[in-house]
Each structure stands twice: as structure tokens, then as C-alpha cells.
Assembly symmetry: C2
Homo-oligomer: 265 residues x 2
């Protein structure tokens, strides 16, 4: 499973401050530590601040220290474009986060996805909001698949995020999300992705919930997750679950993590 | 998911000593603590000792302090019979652990299962040993189902254990086990069960492996597990996974465990 490191996000107050102070060394340290911990992508979100200028600066600073591909994260097509323009090297390695069926977002982001031939995260939401049922979300996934197919997009680059809602709102929300994962993988030749924090919103012991949620998502075939690679327990969940799912030949990565003292009980 | 408390097992040296010393207070304490921690059954195994006499004594002593049903655990039909005879109250509440397709075991245990109309754990093993593939294990499950059906047994009382083998022996062993769980549930109107310790045999950080193994088994519909209910982290895995799978209305049990300070990170 691919790991999208979530730390370089201006929604985190301490990170927002580093960005606004232009503390290059500190954001570069966060980038490097996430890469070393196993991040396959580094999420870059500057929405809480001077988004366009911050995006350009943050992309440049991160790329000075690591080649790990970036995940350009914004609801604004303009900010995504700014991020793509600032990327040096193969822009088609950037994961665009995200497109959806909301009219403005679709019209703004789709041309960028097609122009740069990037992998993209597709949210199952339209201008009516996030549908309540798994069935309706799969219909939105299908519409995204149709639109991208019509535009000759390689569907194996599409990461559908069926948008998990909190357990605290409805105790069937996780179960419904697992059903979305299974059905989307069965119906379409696409990948799936999720963040981990929504599920445990407004609940105690959130990290425990997030870890088992991740393990079960992986069991149902999830391809990528947006998470904190500096959290030893969540990374232990990833390593252990990969071993259990048969994805770790001779349990090599599990044993390597053990020898590095990286498995946290 | 049903929890079968595993502590009253003579394979554990300290418990073997309590049994051989006839320390009633200590085994009763172990029984009570498991029941209070949420055990739905208490496993009773006296194979390492004077099996028949120990079985009779242990069943009597445990039943003096708790009404939690017993899981009479032996490879010997005679010991199972001794256990059943010692049980006071509804003998059809006893979970027999276990039957298999090994000729002696089948011939010895089947009559007891039918006479007392007990739920029973059925192992997918015959006199050729444990089959290597999921497909072959499902064939053995099918043979057990056929034999029990022919004898008018209520299949919803049959708990198939597809017998997980260590990851350290083959890194696909857990994945194969998950496949067995899914296929058995799809094909037959039976339940499924597993122990947790085989999977991590000869690996470091065994408890981490056991916990995520359990969570994934539950996600694939496992109905019961033999585990240590006094282990706070494994019970946290059960509580959290039940909440995630939508089996905990309003997350009531999860929140209750939190308030009792029983969720262990």
C-alpha cells in the first residue's frame, strides 16, 4: 500500500506557522523525516494561508531535499496549477489531490490532470454533497470513471476516495466505507485511497480506531492512505498488515522493521 | 464475535501447576476474571497431566463460581466425555473442542456431539494432516458438513477452524487463512473460529501480529476466537473492530470500555 505523508499541511497550526515564517529548514526536516519513514508521496497543502504563494515556496523547498513525489492538495484548481508549475522534474509523477464531481472542481482540475497526465485522487462527492449510501457513492465513482475514460485517461492512475464519515455520526459509517472499497475494486479497474482521521472524529482513543480502520481497509484492498508516517504505531499497523496479507515475501520488511526497532507495540 | 477464554489450559506451565496442586481458589479466580473480562466460553484443557481426573475436578471447580459455558478441549473423546459428564446444568451449552476428519477423533467425538446436541469446533484436518491449500481445506470442511447434515445436526452450531499455520513457515499462510474464512462462510451455513497464537509462531512481536490478525479475521466474518481475555490490548482490538464493523450500536460498547479505562493503546 502506498503511503501519502500528511504532515506538510497548513491545517496543522505548527506547520502553518513554519510556512508563514518561511522556515525552510523545518519544513525540509519534516519532508525528509517522512520520506525516511517510508512515505511514497508527500502531501502539500497550503490552504490555510496565502495559498498560491505558499504552495510555490513549499514545493520548491521540499524538492530541494527529496525526490519523493508530491501530492498537491487543494480544493482550488489554481493552487494545484501553481503547485504543478513549481514542480521540477517529471510533473506526471505528481499525485493531484483532488478531483470530484462538484462542477467547479471538475471543470478546474480535469484539464490539469489531462495536460500533465498525473495520477489523481477522485472524491465521490458532487454539488449535492456526499451521498448517504454506498450505492450512491459507487454511482458517483462510475461517473468519474466515465468522464476520465472519455478523455482517454489511464484509469489505473485514478485513486477513488469514497469519503469515510465519522463513526460518531453513524455507527455503520466504517462498515459502509468497507463496502464501497470492495465494490469499487470489483467494478472498476481503479485504485482506492482514504485518509484516516475522519472515522474517529469526536470519539475517544482516536488513534486506536484509526489503526484498526487502516488494517481493515488494507484487508479490503485499499491501495493508498493519507497518514502520519512519523507515528510509529500506525506504521507498525501498515507493516504488520502487509505481512498478514501476504504482501511481504519471507516477512522481510516486518523483520527489517523489528531489527530497526521500528515496531511499536 | 464470541470470545473463548484460553487461560484454563494445562499447556500453560503455571496453570498446569495450579491444577496438579488442586488449587481451587486460583483456578476459580482465573475463571472469574476471564468471565468478567468478557469471555463467552471458558476453555478447559487438562491434556498435560492426569487428563481425566483433572478434567472432572477442573469442570467442577469452575462451575462452582461461574455460569459461563465451558469449552471442553481435548483430542481425547474420553476426556471430552468425562468433561461433559462433570458439567452440571444444560450440557447442550458446552462447546466441544474439537472434532475433525481424523478417523479416531471423528468416531470418538461424533457420538458425544450428537448425544448431547452440543455446538462443536470442527478442524479441517484428516489422517493425511492439514492440507496445504485453501481449496483442500474447504473440501474437508465440506466433508464435515456432509457428515453432520446426514446426522441431522444443526449446522449453525458447527464452528469450522480452518487451522492457521505460521507466517514464519510461509508468508502467505495468513492470506490463505482469510481466503478459507471467506469461502467457508460463502459456501456453508456454519460458523468459523480460530486461535491466534499459531500465526505468529517463531516471529518477534507476536502480540502485535496476533492483534491485527484477529481484526482482519473479524473483518472477514469470523464468529469466534480463542484468546486471552485478560490481555487488554487484544480485547481493545476486539472492541474497536466490532465498532468499525458496525456491530456496536451507537458505539456503546466502545464508549463503555473507554469509560472503564479498558481501552489499551
Amino acid at each position: 500500500m502506498l503511503i501519502i505523508g500528511e504532515k506538510l499541511n497548513s491545517a496543522i497550526p505548527s506547520v502553518r506557522e513554519l510556512i508563514s515564517k518561511r522556515d525552510a529548514a523545518a519544513v525540509q526536516d519534516l519532508a525528509l523525516r517522512q520520506a525516511q519513514a517510508g512515505a511514497d508521496y508527500l502531501d502539500i497543502n497550503t490552504a490555510h494561508g496565502d495559498e498560491l504563494l505558499d504552495m510555490e515556496w513549499l514545493v520548491q523547498k521540499v524538492q530541494e531535499v527529496t525526490d519523493v513525489p508530491l501530492c498537491i492538495d487543494s480544493t482550488s484548481a489554481l493552487a494545484i496549477q501553481k503547485g504543478l508549475e513549481a514542480v521540477k522534474g517529471d510533473k506526471n509523477k505528481v499525485l493531484i489531490n483532488s478531483i470530484s464531481l462538484e462542477k467547479n472542481r471538475l471543470e478546474g482540475v480535469l484539464p490539469l490532470v489531462l495536460e500533465y497526465k498525473c495520477p489523481v485522487i477522485g472524491l465521490t462527492v458532487d454539488d449535492n454533497g456526499i451521498p448517504k449510501t454506498a450505492q450512491e457513492r459507487i454511482i458517483l465513482a462510475e461517473r468519474l470513471v466515465e468522464i476520465l475514460t472519455k478523455n482517454d485517461y489511464d484509469l489505473t492512475q485514478l485513486y477513488i476516495d469514497p469519503l469515510v464519515l465519522p463513526l460518531a455520526v453513524d455507527h455503520t459509517n466504517a462498515a459502509m466505507f468497507f463496502q464501497c472499497l470492495t465494490n469499487i475494486k470489483q467494478k472498476f479497474n481503479v485504485k482506492t485511497v482514504s485518509g484516516l482521521s475522519n472515522i474517529s472524529f469526536n470519539m475517544p482513543q482516536r488513534k486506536i480506531i484509526n489503526r484498526y480502520f487502516l488494517a481493515i481497509c488494507m484487508a479490503f484492498g485499499m491501495d493508498a492512505a493519507i497518514l502520519d508516517p512519523l507515528d510509529g504505531k500506525i506504521m507498525t499497523a501498515v507493516t504488520t498488515t502487509n505481512a498478514l496479507l501476504g504482501n511481504d515475501r519471507f516477512s522481510k520488511n516486518f523483520l527489517k522493521a523489528y531489527r530497526k526497532d521500528a515496531l511499536v507495540d
